[in-house]
Symmetry: D2
Subunit: 433 residues, 4 copies
């Protein structure tokens, strides 16, 4: 036991009228919702990255957090893991996820880095065994080192492509070994700063080929988890190829991988792409590529990734509504890829940010379930499209332009608009949130 | 001859030091650039819509333009056509394009509307015959009438789908009859205001089916032009399905239409989607779906479509650079889908806005051609990726993740970043613009 | 009695578990909150403009609403007033507000327009007398007519300035006669489309002088209400001089009017200016110029004024928190300057949009009051600044740079950062919303 | 002589057709423009900060630049200065500017930091003496250290306020000693992340008091330069108090400092605030607070400060047009507060980025001067407002609302809109850029 979180109790459900900060007011893991435990709906996960590796910097300022585990030794890495698993215990988090970069210091060469990843993998495995915490996903950080400054799989230098292959292979191996439920790819450097120095066609072709290699390797090693791509339109680069769900879908179709790869959708990334979170979720569901979520929000007025803990129940409810309509999570979960504000220096802040986020998600999911069970929203939606259920409508859809066009004259059609009833639907949502 | 443009002379090329406003300073239609006449490179087109049908309103104000042809009679429609063709003559515009809505008043029912479209089609055909002006594209306005308020092909009401089919069929027919070189679809109402009342999956399926019908009809009537989709992310709706080039590509792939449909890309729409114009053009080229352009810019600080005439040569040059790299226009062209500012009341404003835009495009295209002929930019780009030309690199690309990964250890790879030289590339561009 | 709202009952408070749509679930006008009736806290107002005059158009489409009172006769204007007052009755709205343009058709000349305004003023006055509905504010529409296309008080043409003076005088007179509690100025055309044709200095000087004239006239006629300016950064123009609260404050200071004029702050306009609503409210409060609010939200992803009814309780609660900290409304109120979505065609939509908005505001205000009464947030804020309450700190503030600087060496200062506790504060807010 | 820039020649003017990259094509320091040498118009300055201290990091990646002077020793600081002055010589830059943080490593305590600043100040002074390079401005970095995470002058902790006073005093002293022409304040941490923990009124009052202390100290020590505030709306915080020129003007008026403080306006910051650069410059000129510029652009599609070298002549020309209309620079200048792209690793990139930027500025200023000398733009502007030059118009402006209003009836006014001629004005600009 480290003493980082000393005096902080395990967080348990105490109801909406709980006293004090260190309690769940809404998240009762065992509460049954639509026939499933709340914990199994939400499948909460902590991101090692932001909670334990990020030092609190921003573009105009450096480290603000002072953590006893900061440093580049294996001892520090193990202390970091000790504290992380203490936090998972305090919060009752069933899952966590990591980049290679978060859990081990980089070595002097690839072999050393890989050996360290293996070693820390063993260490994490023992802790997982002891605590029951599971790995939601693993991933390779291919954006922080200057090695990746011009891309990983899309780098103009084929040696970097090889290095990316080695990095992903190593991370897939450890993820597989730790029974990770997914493997994530985020292409933060797979894009460009300027078209002037970029061969867009070549880079996209390399990215497609790399993804195919990853999928092949997954099958080769028998990894049962899902391969997930996390879309984001920009930042750190001016443009990234995995702009949003629809863009990635086109990419997958281009390379014939739409049956192999799913989406890890982040609220903040949805916003940067000009979409709502629920839009991206609905789009992924309809395209058959919904996978998992990162539940961290961006500030609508800041044009960069602010990665804040969720705090707005109505927004979260609409997101889970789409998740539930997609059948809920299978391999995916609710990952907080969220950063403490850099002024939130204290261990208490780290715990309570998660407590607040988990309560917001619990309220959101329960509201979403209630809306679905109530059924009014879906009934109104169905009614709006009911005309299409008629055989004549379906026949028209299967026919030709001329046949459809002919109906106008033949039947004297002069269609009359009907109210879209948006405000009434919003009022209904507000009964639940 | 109407007297709307009285006293305004035909615009001819008079060189950079021309006196007065009524002259081209840079657009000499006969100038040879890369072995082709400038006119044949640029293929300028006037949009009937903004130049003759738009009354000058904005969300907070009504009509500012007072045009003798405003009104809903066929006489007014013919006067409008007379003035339009006078403008094409004054400007020496080889092409124009129109919506059904622009060229004829809507009738009391579809049959009357269609008959009017036929009648005005004959009138336009005679004028085209007489003047040599050609039709770049035709399109159906399926966004202005309240009939379309909830979508055309994606409307919850199948009768509206039928009406859309009839509208497109009628417009395709007249476009075909007038030897239009393309047919355009812009889905301004194919999207949603709120997900709460929207069946995203159903609407996209209907849109895909509709597009297939359009393609089938094209082949049936032997229309030789291209079917073009014009992407735009939002406005008038909150979200439109044809968000940007990459999104539309995914849509085409989903419905197996990527070989049948190309893109009509607008600078302002690119900006609304969070992209540069050159990005959208390069993406379309690489995906094999580049078609045509709307050369009207948006103000970067206004969050809506401002549809201004182009006025920034460096931006326009980078756009044409991508067009030339795509092989230039085939059926496509440079359409000014641009609105006069609503305070620009005078006939002179209408002429001179086009003169300025044409000169900017001529400068841009000539700069783009000079950059290509100079070759430095492309040489630097090729050099950056030269490592990929090696057989070992190509072999790696064809191999497995493990094989690529193994190179790191086997060859002791530790790749070193090389400068991306962005500023130097920008300096080179500035030698030409 | 018209039959527009036939079958729609008066809306009354029925509690959170009310059946059906036609009931307040949270707005009980008589509920006591912080010692005041909820109705007197909120001071709800309906905007004649959006609810009765706006036809449902957007930049790509025309009228969608079909209202029996549309037209430009005085009969239509009176029918419009009849229906409006029926809606006020149904909703129990204590206030309304209008533009001249909303309530009477424009005449053939100014005198006729003014006479019609007088006549309709009498008609409205009788209805107010009969129903007890009061006028929150009046205002002159100086943006819709082409007359104002280049500005009202800032027009390059002094005749337009005179016309603006006449328009404002007429509206102030009728507002005064109807015992309006405020008079509002919104400068939608007081800005520019391009700096190239704009004399920024001259236009701002004219705007300042015009505002002084308005203030002088207010005193002359003994109008007891407040003069309010409504900031908005852009749309319809590229830039408007009343960008945001801080900008207007500088303008008022420049012309010595900061004691005479207050702010009418709209959520949507705050967002367009890159601020949160609560920011603008807090800023106005601290600068001593808080007046009234327009409670209509913009969609964060649409770059224009969407003017939607409020539907997010947490946001509304934070806004009312600032209002309550400012002491609540005096002459101001909660005006819904909100548009139905243009697809919301039915009379029911109009009623229920207001019902939903009023319930959201009631929840928000009650949450804000509870947060204030709870006191935790304010206690934590005070504690954060407690160091400044020390006499030494205050003395430093009154002293010189050298004296403050000297403390560092003299006292060996090396200040240590303390947590800003943002997530904990957000958790506290979430107990109330 | 260090060998960092070995093989790079001094850059001299070689005309538009120069061979090779290492030449000015447009910047001839001695060229006479409007009666003044180009060098004296432009007053170019290099920012020590971005060119020598910034390591190439971004929010998702660390250092990319490998510079021999990186490190926290005084030896490294002197090597850095040696290289910097070599670059000034190569470029022929007349000015430079710095933060304390850029030129010396921070000490273990304030006294040591201050002593190091003194020592490096001497070192810089000798180099300035030897080379003739002058100091455009000095400033204190009060945003990078975690000490400032919650603000400097606006910190909740009065000890930080004292530390800020000491920091600014030390920087003002060294700036004064080195005959700096201005002293700059940029309040990157003077703002908030959340209103929930912020006492807006108190913070603004402290900021006002701090600024007064700075002004008092300037007078006390006899510093002849200008005090400049650099507005920026956000980033690193959610909101900064110095949002834009208009906001700062209101702040200065509130604290009675509008005669003492001027603006340092950055193109990129203007864009982040939703303005054009020329807007901010024109506004500062009209408010009498124009001072200096940072000529580094933001990417319009990236929602953060990209700080790129200028590369678009038309934009730069419009900016200098406003500068020249303000009478040109007095104490101010053209500072490149620009970052190399982080992939631009080579010494050549650093030199050529400045060369390109200087050429773009030279072209822009010469175009601006030509537009002014041509006079068409100003003549058209004057003509547009000519009605206001009539005595009757001026009399109306001095009179009452009633008197102005009475003109409408008395004179039968019915003002007719006149064209704003925006496109024609844009065409005229395009003759020069």
């Amino acid at each position: 036991m480290t003493d980082f979180f000393r005096d902080i109790p395990e967080i348990t459900y105490a109801g909406p009228d709980a006293e004090g900060e260190f309690a769940f007011r809404h998240y009762d893991p065992s509460e049954m919702v639509m026939g499933k435990r709340l914990e199994d709906h939400l499948r909460f996960s902590v991101a090692y990255w932001h909670s334990f590796a990020w030092p609190g910097g921003d573009p105009f300022g450096g480290q603000t957090f002072e953590r006893p585990w900061f440093g580049d030794t294996m001892e520090a890495a193990k202390l970091k893991a000790d504290v992380a698993f203490e936090m998972f215990r305090i919060l009752g988090q069933p899952f966590y996820c990591f980049h290679d970069y978060d859990v081990r210091p980089e070595g002097d060469n690839f072999a050393e880095s890989a050996a360290r990843l293996d070693e820390i993998g063993d260490y994490l495995g023992e802790k997982m065994q002891a605590t029951g915490t599971r790995l939601l996903w693993g991933t390779a950080n291919m954006f922080s080192s200057r090695r990746w400054m011009s891309g990983a799989a899309t780098n103009p230098d084929p040696e970097v492509f090889a290095y990316a292959a080695a990095s992903v292979k190593a991370c897939m191996d450890v993820t597989h070994r730790l029974s990770g439920e997914n493997y994530v790819l985020w292409g933060g450097r797979e894009g460009y700063e300027t078209l002037l120095n970029t061969d867009l066609g070549r880079e996209r072709a390399h990215a497609g080929r790399f993804l195919q290699m990853v999928v092949d390797y997954k099958h080769k090693i028998g990894f049962q988890g899902a391969i997930l791509i996390e879309p984001k339109p920009q930042e750190p680069t001016k443009h990234q190829y995995d702009y949003d769900v629809a863009t990635v879908y086109g990419f997958l179709k281009e390379f014939g991988l739409e049956g192999e790869v799913k989406m890890n959708i982040e609220q903040g990334h949805a916003i940067l792409a000009g979409h709502s979170f629920e839009h991206e979720l609905a789009m992924a569901r309809e395209l058959g590529i919904f996978g998992s979520i990162d539940m961290n929000r961006n500030d609508y007025q800041s044009g960069w990734d602010t990665d804040q803990f969720p705090n707005t129940v109505p927004e979260v409810a609409l997101a889970y509504y789409e998740v539930l309509k997609a059948g809920g999570f299978t391999t995916g979960g609710t990952n907080f890829d969220a950063k403490l504000r850099r002024q939130s220096l204290d261990p208490e802040d780290l715990i309570l940010a998660h407590v607040g986020g988990m309560d917001v998600c619990a309220r959101g999911l329960k509201a979403a379930a209630a809306m679905l069970e109530d059924g009014t929203l879906e009934a109104m939606r169905s009614e709006r499209y009911a005309g299409w259920d008629a055989p004549a409508a379906q026949k028209m859809l299967d026919g030709s332009l001329e046949a459809a066009a002919a109906r106008v004259g033949d039947e004297g059609l002069d269609p009359k608009p009907r109210s879209g009833r948006q405000e009434r639907l919003e009022n209904i949502v507000n009964r639940f949130v």
